[in-house]
Symmetry: C2
Subunit: 342 residues, 2 copies
């Protein structure tokens, strides 16, 4: 890469945004050294992320070692193999280590979900083997807006509207960071054009996630016309919801700590105390206790817990019993709420 092109990259707003994110997430610390796997599919977003991270890794004092991780899902025939070669070439051109993992999703029931899980698992494995403590992925502001809208349509609360996290744990000792979350899609493609960097188009996106594609092509352009920074607003919303979800969890933890007790493997909660809780807090308390007894988090939402909180809060005295998944039972008596596992 010639000097002029490198300088152009290094001071580009997208690269500056990546730098800010990496510092805020404490991936980069003063005088520290860090090894990061960059997940690169070959699409515009991840190529931009790689280019930006590479430019930063060359800055004096940044001490960032990069490994390019590519996951071949084997879902799109020859095109996918060409993507893998493209990423391998790019890594070589930048002088970076390249690691590839191949998934076998032929037996998966929900292909989309299995691909997602498999991809993160593979990136985590690469990180562990290459002695990296971070995996960087290329989620950006438009992804966040799509996610928030999808969650809204499916009926989300604060937890759902948090969207994609800027930082989260992946496996023991490895965290994921999303340094592009504050950057919009348009800005990313502009960055690649300005730096004359090629990328691979994924022509099957529309088939793999049909609704998401509909949002992307039909809804997002209108929302951005109404409000140019709509995607960034979705990222801010995610941050706020993360804060609110934390406040809710604090309130839930306080009730559990002060008022719930476990006797012979059965959780007891005084019913008058439960009645005083806001409904959303009570639901959180029941949810936490049910999960401690083994119910899956997606099997104790509002649909399952709503009738229970309602019966806790009404004035009836008779005993009522509710069955949750996994053999967990909630009994509402005149004075108590009991959560047990058969």
């Amino acid at each position: 890469m010639d000097f002029k092109k490198r300088a152009k990259i290094s001071y580009h707003p997208v690269v500056k945004a990546i730098a800010r994110s990496l510092k805020a997430a404490e991936v980069i610390k003063p005088r520290g050294e860090v090894a990061v796997v960059v997940g690169v599919s070959g699409g515009a977003d991840s190529v931009a992320l790689l280019l930006g991270m590479h430019a930063l890794s060359q800055r004096r004092g940044w001490g960032m070692r990069l490994v390019v991780g590519h996951v071949q899902h084997h879902l799109r025939g020859d095109e996918a193999e060409a993507d893998a070669l493209f990423v391998e070439d790019l890594a070589k051109h930048l002088g970076l280590a390249y690691e590839r993992r191949d998934l076998d999703l032929r037996e998966a029931k929900n292909i989309e979900e299995a691909a997602r899980r498999g991809r993160y698992e593979a990136l985590g494995e690469i990180a562990v083997q290459a002695d990296c403590v971070w995996v960087a992925t290329a989620h950006h502001a438009d992804d966040q807006l799509e996610t928030v809208l999808m969650r809204l349509l499916r009926g989300a609360g604060a937890r759902g509207l948090r969207g994609v996290a800027k930082v989260r744990s992946l496996v023991e000792g490895v965290k994921i960071v999303r340094p592009l979350l504050g950057v919009g899609k348009e800005q990313i493609e502009k960055f690649l054009c300005e730096t004359e960097q090629d990328w691979r188009e994924d022509h099957t996106n529309a088939d793999v996630e049909r609704w998401r594609a509909k949002l992307r092509h039909e809804v997002l352009p209108v929302l951005k016309e109404i409000r140019g920074d709509a995607a960034i607003k979705a990222v801010q919303l995610g941050d706020r919801m993360r804060g609110l979800e934390g406040v809710l969890q604090d309130a839930v933890a306080e009730v559990i700590e002060n008022d719930a007790r476990e006797v012979d493997g059965v959780f007891h909660l005084p019913r008058d105390r439960a009645r005083q809780c806001r409904e959303i807090v009570l639901m959180g308390v029941l949810r936490s206790l049910a999960m401690l007894k083994g119910v899956d988090s997606d099997r104790c939402g509002e649909r399952e817990l709503g009738p229970i909180t309602k019966s806790v809060r009404d004035q009836q005295g008779g005993m009522r019993q509710f069955e949750l998944y996994g053999g967990v039972r909630v009994v509402v008596t005149r004075d108590s709420v009991l959560i047990s596992n058969n």
Copy 2:
């Protein structure tokens, strides 16, 4: 109205939904009597609301007296006058009292906002004069989805995403209720067609609120294609956000009660205690205290308070000072946060 048509109306799902809402909001109480102003513009939504409320008022034991309230904004020339006559005729046909108020918005800076305020003021006035304790307005689920999306695009937190309230106070002794909030637009128009009831189309909607119209015509149809009950999900989201906002306010109130004190008109908050708060709670505390000192609620959002919470939470010891609107000053010292009004 003949018997057959009346029966058709009385057991229609839309009327049942209105009945459920009125009971849930305790507008209708067992053996109670109640007087309600129904705000009717002449559009499909408010005509449907009036028709439904009228059918219910005729049910045995409901004891509901209705007054039809129409606000003429004088923004759309002859068409608006024709709307007023249409509503007056409909009220007469149903045997209901009709009250009209005329607004003069020629001097308003923000016409949209002034129209909204003027409308609610007029409806409140009608309620007080006609001895009614409720005003019913025709906001429906699609309105809620639009509102939530607009708020999302403008950058909302839980407070904004609550959307339109099912019930809220209007003036001393008068509350607003929205009995159609759980009903979608499509269902409303179907109801009117099935009961052969005319309504007036507002042809200037698109001009008065351009962005909202864009959402309505270009975004909502796609969202509903993705998820038929998208609008209902937005209503549920509003409920959840209302609950969460309550939890946040509880946390804020607890900090203020336990840790803030007022000395000589200056609020004091120990800085180490402020530091322990989640950022969103600290922001709420500063907001509440600033509002007690006279700052407008829309002049102390994240933009104004973000730099203050940041400085409270950093490790610097020197004194820093922030000016909010209305002469309110926040001073961060080594040990305290002080909020005062000059």
